[in-house]
């Protein structure tokens, strides 16, 4: 005679599920914080004279208290800033044959703009009453200009995009020789070093 299979008690299933529920409640982090990373300049001893930068190697972005942009003494819309910055950084105005000649630049090579990307400095000047939203938007556009140029060079030299590889390494999803890739990343960074300077903000009305 066959016996009926005994019923399995599922009462403790709820307890197990609760345990899981509490575990996830404690450990989940839904969203990772992302942002624009920056290295602040250390405080210089006051005796040291600031380095001299030629007028043509300086790209001045001025933001006033009403969030308007003044780029190289011209009023500009935010959407045009990226292109203007790219044109400035990529100009490569130093004459060919000189030690400062930039052989990878594809810009206009205008002698009145930057000599090479290593010399080119972007200076952002904010008013104290500029909104933080605008400040970040400007920083974002300028970083985008650098990323565009770095992507272009890394694609030309190695066949991959600088920003994508950088992201893959940071997320740990990069497969292959990480040290060799990092070396190449640094080489690209050297071609277009991030030279963003920030002046002390002016007080209102100055």
């Amino acid at each position: 005679m066959r016996r009926a299979t005994p019923e399995v008690n599922a009462g403790s299933m709820a307890d197990i599920a609760f345990l899981l529920l509490i575990f996830f409640l404690v450990t989940t982090t839904i969203e990772k914080d992302k942002g624009i990373a920056r290295q602040l300049p250390p405080i210089e001893p006051p005796t040291e004279a600031p380095p001299l930068i030629k007028e043509k190697n300086l790209f001045i972005v001025n933001v006033n208290k009403d969030d308007q942009l003044l780029v190289e003494d011209n009023l500009m819309e935010l959407k045009d800033l990226r292109q203007a910055a790219i044109a400035f950084l990529d100009n490569g105005g130093a004459p060919s044959g000189s030690p400062e000649y930039c052989n990878y630049c594809k810009g206009a090579r205008s002698p009145s703009s930057s000599d090479n990307p290593d010399k080119a400095v972007i200076s952002v000047q904010n008013d104290r009453l500029t909104s933080y939203k605008m400040y970040i938007a400007v920083q974002n556009e300028l970083v985008a200009a650098y990323n565009f140029l770095r992507d272009r060079e890394s694609e030309r030299l190695y066949g991959w995009k600088f920003t994508e590889l950088n992201k893959a390494i940071n997320e740990g999803s990069f497969k292959g020789n990480e040290d060799a890739a990092k070396e190449k990343l640094e080489a690209i960074q050297k071609l277009f070093p991030l030279k963003l300077s920030e002046a002390e903000p002016k007080t209102k009305g100055q």
């Binding site: 996830f24 990772k32 992302k34 909104s131 933080y132």
Partner: protein
């Protein structure tokens, strides 16, 4: 003979608890999807600006600074001027350094030298407040900062 005969005595019917795990699992999934963990209680408005050229922040080596107007329920007491929050309380510009030092000591010892200062600043704040913070950070030699943003671009609106 009646059709509506009581089957048994006044015994209570057995309630099946077999579906209880299903209900709990549903709750589990609901919470897994919607939870956003907040380790600090926000005292300021925090509508972060948008940016798309971003890097990820390594949370284990981050110290947070919040800034913005006080939240609506605190505005009666603290006004509407932009304020700085570190940990669970408002901090004045002069005390940022001490508050940061306190927050930094809570990190793992081997990461304390690689500390990142994460600035979570409301989009409507004045840049002046942010540059005051940055000046203090420079004096404290905390030079690595990251402006936390939300995905998107300011250009699209």
């Amino acid at each position: 003979m009646s059709k509506f005969k009581k089957k048994k005595g006044g015994e209570l019917p057995h309630i099946s608890t077999a579906s209880l795990p299903d209900i709990v699992f549903m709750l589990l999934f609901f919470f897994m999807v919607v939870t956003v963990l907040r380790d600090t209680n926000l005292l300021v408005q925090n509508q972060l600006p948008k940016a798309d050229q971003v890097e990820k922040l390594k949370k284990d080596r981050a110290v947070y600074i919040y800034a913005g107007k006080p939240s609506s329920r605190y505005q009666e007491v603290f006004g509407t001027e932009g304020r700085i929050q570190i940990g669970d309380k408002y901090t004045s510009i002069e005390n940022i350094g001490l508050a940061l030092e306190e927050a930094r000591r809570k990190l793992l010892p081997e990461l304390q030298d690689k500390v990142y200062v994460a600035l979570k600043v409301d989009g409507e704040t004045n840049t002046g407040l942010v540059s005051d913070i940055k000046q203090v950070l420079r004096e404290r030699n905390l030079l690595k900062i990251i402006y936390i943003t939300t995905p998107g671009t300011e250009l699209s609106n």
